[in-house]
């Protein structure tokens, strides 16, 4: 047997990998890049407003917002779809990233607030005389952006370390993450915490001293968000196609076998968990300047559950699925809340039930099923 194999390595056994995506996949990525970086800016800024081709500011803002959500859904997919750990607290990391950016934007208001003071308005209102220690670095854009990554990353790392070391799994882990985000929400609701209480931050004026509401600034933020989403997609693709990614899937399928094969699951779970949290935090930081507000509502349990719904509706365990899911659910949400505002939550509930019952692999799974069926029919017709 070995004589047969020794002559040449049996490369036919190895599945072909390394290109990251197929031709269709790369075409899609390039198309997405062109849309985000060329098409939308041209249609929004250069095409005059009366023209049929003009893309309204409303849609740019909406798509920009949904792209931030899509990053969260992608992060959720890495930890839930691929590693099998359902987090119901990812909204916390998103909100922390948003607060990090919001603090910087609050300082950028300068003396243009209601009270014409150096301190942010809510601090003047609370009769505070100086900035709390948590705001020490809030004047520097670079430092604050580092905090956007470090604070949620560190929180996720410490929380994950203790949870995974104690072998907390399944539903217990989900409940603890839910409790974590709820506790953080209660903390941020308090004025004493120093982050604007239940009003949060709003009324931003500038970013990097450039007016935040002007069309070109908004477009830069939009393009940046789109590029981040595409970048994260390619990164996630590289991760799940490496041996590391296959260990993650192995942890999902049979964690005990992974352990008895000599892998330490804690290192793998902790690294992907922290990465996933940081991705959400970056999405939050991109979200706040586009939407113009951040408040503790983003930490509510419902917000975190919605992220899981996007991933489930689109299709867990595929990378395009959660992005599709985020666009589908949020697109439907913005349409429904305009046309039938009272029925949105009923629709969301029905959608989730329908997906759970009929589409275990989400919309992407449905698409795959339909195309494979039509291919089969083609073959039958030909035969």
């Amino acid at each position: 047997m070995s004589a047969v194999l020794n002559s040449s390595s049996d490369f036919s056994l190895q599945p072909r990998r390394g290109l990251l995506l197929g031709i269709r996949g790369w075409t899609g990525v390039v198309a997405a890049l062109i849309t985000v970086a060329v098409l939308v800016p041209v249609l929004n800024l250069l095409v005059p407003e009366g023209s049929a081709l003009h893309l309204g500011d409303y849609y740019v803002a909406l798509v920009g917002k949904i792209m931030c959500y899509a990053i969260c859904a992608l992060a959720m997919d890495l930890i839930w779809g691929y590693t099998g750990i359902l987090s119901l607290g990812h909204g916390l990391f998103f909100a922390l990233g948003g607060y990090g950016m919001g603090m910087y934007l609050m300082r950028q208001i300068g003396r243009d607030g209601q009270y014409k003071a150096d301190l942010p308005d809510f601090m003047v209102f609370l009769n505070w005389k100086e900035l709390p220690w948590t705001w020490t670095l809030s004047d520097s854009f670079i430092a604050q952006m580092l905090l956007v990554i470090l604070v949620p990353g560190l929180l996720a790392f410490v929380f994950g370390y203790f949870a995974f070391r104690s072998r907390i799994k399944g539903v217990y882990f989900s409940i603890i993450t839910q409790a974590l985000t709820y506790a953080a929400m209660l903390l941020f609701f308090r004025n004493e915490t120093g982050f604007g209480g239940n009003n949060g931050f709003t009324d931003f004026k500038r970013i990097l001293s450039i007016p935040i509401a002007q069309p070109s600034t908004r477009m830069v933020l939009f393009v940046l968000t789109g590029l981040t989403l595409i970048g994260f997609f390619l990164m996630a693709r590289a991760i799940v196609h490496s041996k590391y990614g296959r260990v993650l899937q192995a942890i999902r399928d049979a964690e005990s076998r992974v352990m008895f094969t000599g892998y330490d699951p804690i290192a793998y779970k902790l690294s992907i968990w922290t990465l996933s949290a940081v991705m959400c935090a970056i999405a939050g930081a991109l979200y706040v300047p586009q939407v113009g507000i951040i408040n503790p509502g983003e930490m509510s349990p419902a917000a975190s559950i919605e992220i899981a719904i996007w991933a489930a509706v689109g299709g867990r365990g595929t990378l395009i699925g959660p992005i599709v899911g985020a666009f589908f659910v949020n697109g439907a949400k913005s349409w429904f809340t305009q046309v039938f505002p009272e029925f949105w939550l009923y629709f969301l509930g029905a959608l989730f039930i329908a997906v759970t019952l009929f589409l275990p692999n989400g919309l992407v799974g449905l698409y795959a099923k339909l195309t494979s069926r039509s291919k089969k029919e083609d073959k039958e017709v030909r035969a």
């Binding site: 899937q249 699951p265 290192a267």
Partner: protein, 296 residues
Amino acid sequence: MTPELMQAGTRLKIEHEARLAATASRTESGGRSASYGRLVKHGEPDFTQGVALYLDDITVSFDGFKALNALSLAINVGELRCIIGPNGAGKTTMMDVITGKTRPDAGRASFGSTIDLLRLRENDIAQIGIGRKFQKPTVYEELSVFENLELALAADRRARASLFHRLSGQQLDRIGEILTLIHLKPSAQRTAGLLSHGQKQWLEIGMLLMQDPKLLLLDEPVAGMTDEETERTAELFLSLEGKHSLVVVEHDMKFVDQLTEGRKTVTVLHEGSVLAEGKLADVQANDKVVEVYLGR
């Protein structure tokens, strides 16, 4: 020094080397025996005493129920040991203790003569060379057969190393070799979840062999296999004997008979301790064993 003396010295040296070579092929330790001059290598078991696994007075209790009751057992290097016993005798608990899943209340467990198993975690124990097959076949259902074996391949287990891992030609050959050995080469790209029960058992055995463990613990390896598959499994295990130490827990007496070839030791567990030990025929004739198996 005279030429005669030199010739005599050379002759003695050649004889000595021949003696060494003869013993080297017979023992796992390469002909060396226990002495004070050995170096302890970190993370590597020392087998020069001839014992691969040593359990001493292990007691495990769950809410007062003693799953293992002062169990003592020694497995020699290269030995194939079958362990039988009625349900609830503590066979699976014993494997849990060896692999670090369960911590005993009392007792000692060592791998070779230097490594204390009770101080290591599951993944460390797997790394130093103890492989375990579960009672229920445990494979990665959504990955392909090839990928299942690839993950089991002996390589750097750390997260960063896995991120940039590339298979070498030698490693591919090794996977191909094992695929042929477990008769799954045509199914290499199939999803493991689609395999039959018997094929999953083989795949799991293949994954163990990829790890190249020094000691294999096999919990009912032929459950759910056809007669032909069972026979092939027995042949496979017999071919591993000598190179690896094997501990096989099994209910199928025909299989045990085939493995022990009428001369190897069988251990009977009952109520968490060793009831009898000896050749299968002797053990089956033992009054106590008959009583335990047939009821009183």
